[in-house]
Symmetry: C2
């Protein structure tokens, strides 16, 4: 058996997210089917994390084991021939047996793209969130800075059944106990053009919906619905109700996943 | 009644072309429905020409008459609120009563985008034709030059029932009699990046499938299947069978339509 690491980019618009679901079109499912066609084996590729329906990837990473001794370039070429054009394999590498796309991941970068001009090109519309409010970028930049470091991000986690159950079990559980503490390394907004704002965040890991909830909250700060220093208070509240709405999936890109040097992933160029 | 000129951009991927067809989703149909919602009138907007299923537009022009005295900015904003994000109105103007998007058009520019790298980004794939052959750009450039001027483009016209009937009626009809003579003002290839080739052609008018047939033929020349001077011979042959295949719709963009100064359309920036 050989252990493989695949680096993938996909347009998530027409997929029900990464994870295989019966009867639905998913990225993991497409990849599994393509592998079956090529090597006659259909291991379930393990992603670095699940991207939600409609979320895109510039550098998602998946790992899987194959018995077939296929050369890396052939596997990449064959996958790109079979997969739909909305999913591309950027790299196929044989890695050490203990590499696992999720468990071995050290950090991830996401970016979130916001169009704030008057008329959004139809060729961009699938890949941005169109924001109709005037935004104060300076306020949003300050808010972005306030999440850098180790924090309990419970306020920004989707209130999934799993988290709710853990909260019940733990009663007044701390973030450490609930598993809602994360380290953010960088968090900043960039004005790409006058009409396009990009938020980039790199962290040790992210809770479900965390980036979209952070962006939804910063947009409220940017348009003056929340106070300029709201971010700190929302972190302390440790309640989903304290944060802003979840920003739409279409603006979110998993940009890159980082591993130790033995299995490092290069950053891919963001698509425009 | 006021006569309106609308400049439109659209991602044609999911439309059955410009023209209204019963039960199918078309750009003209979406526009007509949106107008009905806004002003309670539903004139059929006249396009500068019909774009085929899957063909995109950066600057399509449509004209229509409305009784409702709505300010131009309001009409543009309202249309962009109601239309799907894949169709945008770039400009809405009241023009002289005799302006007609098709009859008044003096020239048009199309562009055709070809991706010739190894792996095409999923964010580009809907808007290019992926060509898997190595291409000799110099040969293609020479071929493009050979169509500049006034020629009978019968070899590059789709063999539609209408043209076949005209051919039957006219027996050995000349291009003038058949209406297959067109003037090409500029025709050239540009290497946008090492991986993206763009063909731009400006002419007095274009026959059905003409740009896609020209591109399909130049690709055959570029990959060495047709001789370097094939273009001239194919023009003289006056037969669809002499030319190459029709290049796919997804690479084609109607870039701009030109009118006399009284109703001039600005070129729109090509989307990347």
């Amino acid at each position: 058996m050989q252990n493989w690491k695949l680096t993938l980019t996909y347009d998530g618009t027409e997929y029900h997210g990464w994870q295989v679901q019966p009867g639905l079109c998913t990225v993991q499912g497409e990849l599994q089917q393509a592998l079956a066609q090529i090597v006659g084996e259909s291991p379930l590729p393990q992603g670095s994390g699940r991207t939600d329906a409609g979320v895109h990837a510039l550098g998602q990473v998946a790992s899987l084991e194959l018995a077939c001794p296929i050369p890396a370039d052939n596997l990449k070429r064959a996958l790109n021939r079979i997969l739909p054009a909305s999913i591309r394999v950027l790299k196929a590498e044989v890695v050490e047996a203990n590499f696992h796309a999720r468990h071995s991941a050290r950090a991830k970068t996401y970016e979130y793209r916001i169009f704030c001009g008057a008329v959004c090109s139809p060729f961009l519309a699938r890949y941005v969130h169109v924001c109709r409010w005037p935004l104060d970028l300076e306020r949003m930049q300050k808010a972005a800075q306030q999440i850098v470091g180790e924090h309990d991000f419970r306020s920004f986690a989707a209130s999934d059944p799993e988290l709710r159950q853990r909260e019940k079990d733990g009663n007044e559980a701390t973030g450490k106990e609930l598993g809602t503490v994360r380290s953010i390394l960088t968090s900043e907004w960039q004005e790409e053009t006058g009409e396009l704002l990009i938020y980039r965040v790199c962290g040790s890991g992210f809770l479900h919906h965390m980036v979209r909830n952070l962006v939804g909250t910063m947009l409220e700060i940017g348009r003056g619905q929340f106070a300029g220093d709201a971010m700190r208070k929302i972190l302390l509240a440790r309640s989903r109700a304290a944060a802003g709405p979840t920003a739409p999936a279409c603006g979110l890109f998993l940009q890159a996943v980082y591993y130790d040097a033995s299995a490092r992933t290069k950053e891919t160029e963001p698509a425009r």
